[in-house]
Symmetry: C2
Subunit: 444 residues, 2 copies
C-alpha cells in the first residue's frame, strides 16, 4: 500500500502538466495549482517564448506517457541552422546526420494538450491559485484565490513553478539552502516575420535561422501558421544594446545595418519592438531540491538560458527519471526523493553550463570559418565512427541515453582533441587526408 | 531644501541603529521598524553571537557620531591570539604592534546603547513590526504588527535587516537582481566558560583564545562579567562533526580529546551543548543594492562569515561611507545611492573573501610552525618599515583609511613575496639575517 496518496503540484506549465500525467497514471490523486488563468479559456499575455525546440530527451518523456505522436503532428522539423550573414547570404549547417532534427513546437499548444490529457487521467487543475507559503514540516501550502487564503495539506508537494518558483522562494529561507540567480548581460525581445501574401513561409521552414553578429544575434523559428517567431538577443547596455535602440530611427537603422535581409520581411518591426517586453535571461542554481516531503523540479530547481534549446527537454527528462526511480523503488518516496536529487543535480549543472557555452557558439562561432571546418571534420568523424565520435551537440540533442553530465565531460575531451586537430599546419587544405581513426582513438 | 525628509530603516540591529543616528543628525525624520521585541525591555532569546570584535573601522564610524568613548568603556582589549594546543600548552601571537588591539564587546549592550542614543536624536523605533513586502515604485513598506497589516510610504527605505533581509527578499523578485547565498560546511555552537570561584577570569582576558584543530576549532572571547563566550566551529557532517556529537558520552570524549584544558573550565558543557542551537554560516552576495529609492546596507547587502571579526565593522563602515557621500553630494540621494553601491560593492566582495580565507588561517595555520615563522618575519618587516610593509591582518583590522579591496589586493602581493621568502633554503635558521629592505622593495 502506498503511503503517499495525494500530491500537490504547484505550477501548470509544461513540466507540471506532464508530471501530473505521470503521477496520475501511477494511481496518485494529483491536484495542480496554477497562479494564472486557464490558457485554454483565456488568451494569456506573453512574456514567455512562443515556440520551443523539442528534441529527443523531451520526446522520450512524452513517449513514456503515450503523447509523442500527437505532439509531433504539430511540430515543424528543423534539420539545421541556416546562417544569415550581414549581406543576406545563406549557409546551411545540419544539426546532425540525415534524418536527425529538432522540432519547433508551440509552447501554449503543447501546454494545453498536456493539461487536457492530464484531466482525462483524473488530474484536477486549480487556476488563479497563488502559492503564498509552504510549511515544509506539515507539507502544507498556503494558497490564495482572489482575496481568500486557505491552507491545504498533502502527502507530497512538488514545485514545478518555474525559474521564479514560489515553492523555492519558501525553501530559500530554510537553513543551509544553497541558492544562486545570475543574469547574463543580454536581454531578449520577440519579433515576427509574417507569412507571405500568398500564405507561404518567407524563409526556409525546416531550419532554425540565425543571424550571428558576435556580441548579439537574431534567431527565427517556424510556426505552423507559416509565420516565424524571431528573437533578438542583445546586451541591455553598451555600444550595441537595447539602451541604444531608443527611437524608431535607431531601431530601423540597427536592423538595416545588421539584419538587412530579415528587416525586409518584418513589416511590424516597430510595433512589435514597442509592444513586446525586453526580457532578461537567468540561470538558477540551488540545492537541495528536497525539504522533507517537498520537491523542486524543472526550471524551479535549475533555470537555464535558452541557447541549447534544452530547458523544456531537461524538465521533461526530470519527469522521466523521477518516474523510473518510482518504478525502481516501488513508489517509496522517502528513498526516491534523495536519490533523485543526487542523481539529477550534476546533470542540471551540466546543461546549465552547456546552455551558457552554446550562446557563444551561436552568436559568434557559427559565422566563423574555422568553426565551420571544425564542424565538417566532426561530422565526418561521426559519419565514419557513428558510435564512437558523437559531436557534443548530438550527444545533448539527439541522444536520450546519455546524461547531460556525461555529454559535458566527453564534449570537453572532444574539444581538446579537436583543438589539436585544428592546430595542424594548413588544416584548411589537408583536412580531407587526416587520419580519422587516430583522432577517434584519442577519445579512449 | 531636501527632497528626502522621511526615511524608513528596516531592522534595528547594530547597523540600523547606528545609521539612524547618522541620519537623524543630518536632520531627517527616521522611523526604524524591527521585527523583534525591544531588547531593552525584554530578554531576547539568543541565536546571534553574544560578543563581537570591534576594531578600527567600527570605532571610526562610532567616533563620527560621538559614540566611541562611551562604548570603549565596556570593551575588553584583546592584544593577540592565545593558541591552545592539544595538550593545553599556550602560545601568544600578537595581532599587531604594541598598543594595537581589537575589542571584545557585547552585541546586545552595544545595540541597546545605540538605540537609546538614536532616540535622543528623535529617531522613532517601532518594535514587533515585520516587513512583509516592499513596493519599490512607491517606496512603500507593507508592515505587519500582530495581525494588523498596514502600508506606509516614505521618501527613502533602507534595509538593514541582516543576512536574511526581508527587504532584499522583495528585491530578489525584481528583474536582473544578482543573488547568491552560500553556506560553509561548518556550523557553530556557543558554549561558556564561567568566572572562577573567586570571581576572576579563568583564562587570560586580554586575548582571543583559539584551539585550532585543522578541520575545526574552538574560540573564546572575554566578557566584562569575567566569563568567556566560547564558540565551537565544526562541520555539520563527516568524521569530526556535529552529527557525531549525538550523546553526552561522545560530546565529553570529543572535548577531552581535543580541548583538554578548556573542558576542565566548562562545567555546563552538556547543558550548553543541548540548549544552544547549532547555527549555520552563510555568505550573501547580491547586486544591485539600490532599487529606485530603496537601499540595502550591512549584512542585508553583504552577509559574511565571522572569521575576520569584520561583519559589524564593515556594516559600520558602510554607514560612515554613506554619510561622507551625503556630505559630498549635499544630501542629493539620487546621486549618492548609485555612487555608494558602486564604491562599496568591491569592498564588500573583498571582505567576504578575506573572511572565508581567514577561517583556514585560524583553524589550521595558526598552529603551524611555518606560519608562526612567517608572522615573525612579517612583524619584523612591519617594525622596520611601518608605513611600507603592513601585514594583511593589520590592514584590515587596524587601518580605517584603506579600503578592504585594496587590503585584499596588497595582501595578495605580500603573500606572493612571503611565499618566496619562505622558500629560502634553511629559512628557519637564516631568517634573522635576510635582507628586509630587498623584500619591502618588491612591494613597489
Amino acid at each position: 500500500m502506498k503511503e503517499t496518496k495525494h500530491i500537490a503540484i504547484v505550477g501548470a506549465g509544461l513540466v507540471g502538466s506532464l508530471l501530473s500525467i505521470y503521477l496520475a497514471k501511477r494511481g496518485y490523486k494529483v491536484s495542480v495549482y496554477e497562479r494564472r488563468l486557464d490558457m485554454r479559456k483565456h488568451l494569456i499575455e506573453g512574456g514567455r517564448s512562443i515556440n520551443l525546440a523539442l528534441s529527443n530527451r523531451g520526446i522520450r518523456a512524452l513517449e513514456d506517457v503515450g503523447m509523442a505522436e500527437v505532439l509531433k503532428q504539430n511540430a515543424i522539423p528543423m534539420h539545421g541552422r541556416m546562417i544569415h550573414d550581414e549581406s543576406g547570404r545563406l549557409n546551411f549547417q545540419p544539426y546532425g546526420k540525415t534524418g536527425q532534427f529538432i522540432n519547433s513546437v508551440s509552447r501554449g499548444g503543447l501546454n494545453m494538450v498536456l493539461m487536457t490529457e492530464a484531466e482525462k487521467h483524473g488530474v484536477e487543475f486549480f487556476f488563479e491559485h497563488r502559492c503564498l507559503a509552504v510549511d515544509f514540516s506539515k507539507t502544507e501550502l498556503t494558497l490564495q484565490e482572489y482575496e481568500a487564503v486557505k491552507h491545504k495539506s498533502f502527502d507530497l508537494i512538488i514545485g514545478s513553478d518555474g525559474a521564479f518558483s514560489a515553492v523555492r522562494g519558501a525553501m530559500q529561507f530554510t537553513d543551509r539552502f544553497e541558492y544562486q540567480q545570475t543574469f547574463i548581460e543580454h536581454g531578449y525581445k520577440e519579433l515576427r516575420i509574417p507569412a507571405s501574401d500568398s500564405g507561404d513561409y518567407l524563409l526556409e521552414p525546416n531550419a532554425l535561422h540565425i543571424w550571428p553578429r558576435e556580441s548579439f544575434m537574431l534567431i527565427a523559428l517556424p510556426n505552423p501558421d507559416k509565420t516565424f517567431t524571431c528573437t533578438l538577443f542583445l546586451p541591455f547596455e553598451g555600444p550595441s544594446s537595447f539602451a541604444q535602440l531608443d527611437s524608431k530611427e535607431n531601431i530601423q537603422a540597427f536592423f538595416e545595418k545588421h539584419f538587412s535581409d530579415a528587416v525586409t520581411m518584418m513589416p511590424t518591426l516597430q510595433e512589435d519592438f514597442r509592444d513586446n517586453a525586453t526580457a532578461s535571461l537567468v540561470t538558477i542554481r540551488c540545492y537541495p531540491w528536497v525539504k522533507n516531503k517537498t520537491l523542486l523540479i524543472g526550471d524551479a530547481s535549475h533555470g537555464i538560458v535558452p541557447f541549447f534549446g534544452q530547458g523544456m527537454n531537461a524538465g521533461f527528462e526530470d519527469c522521466r527519471v523521477l518516474n523510473e526511480l518510482l518504478d525502481q523503488y516501488e513508489d517509496k518516496w522517502k528513498k526516491v526523493l534523495p536519490v533523485f536529487q543526487e542523481l539529477r543535480k550534476p546533470d542540471a549543472d551540466a546543461i546549465a553550463q552547456l546552455a551558457l557555452d552554446n550562446f557563444i557558439e551561436m552568436r559568434d562561432l557559427v559565422a566563423d570559418e574555422d568553426f565551420i571546418l571544425r564542424k565538417k571534420i566532426e561530422a565526418e568523424l561521426h559519419e565514419r565512427y557513428p558510435d564512437k565520435w558523437i559531436p557534443l551537440y548530438s550527444r545533448v540533442t539527439f541522444r536520450d541515453d546519455q546524461r547531460y553530465s556525461e555529454a559535458l565531460a566527453v564534449g570537453k575531451k572532444q574539444k581538446e582533441i579537436m583543438d589539436r586537430v585544428m592546430n595542424t599546419p594548413d588544416i584548411k587544405n589537408k583536412w580531407t587526408s587526416i587520419n580519422l581513426e587516430e583522432i577517434v582513438n584519442q577519445l579512449k
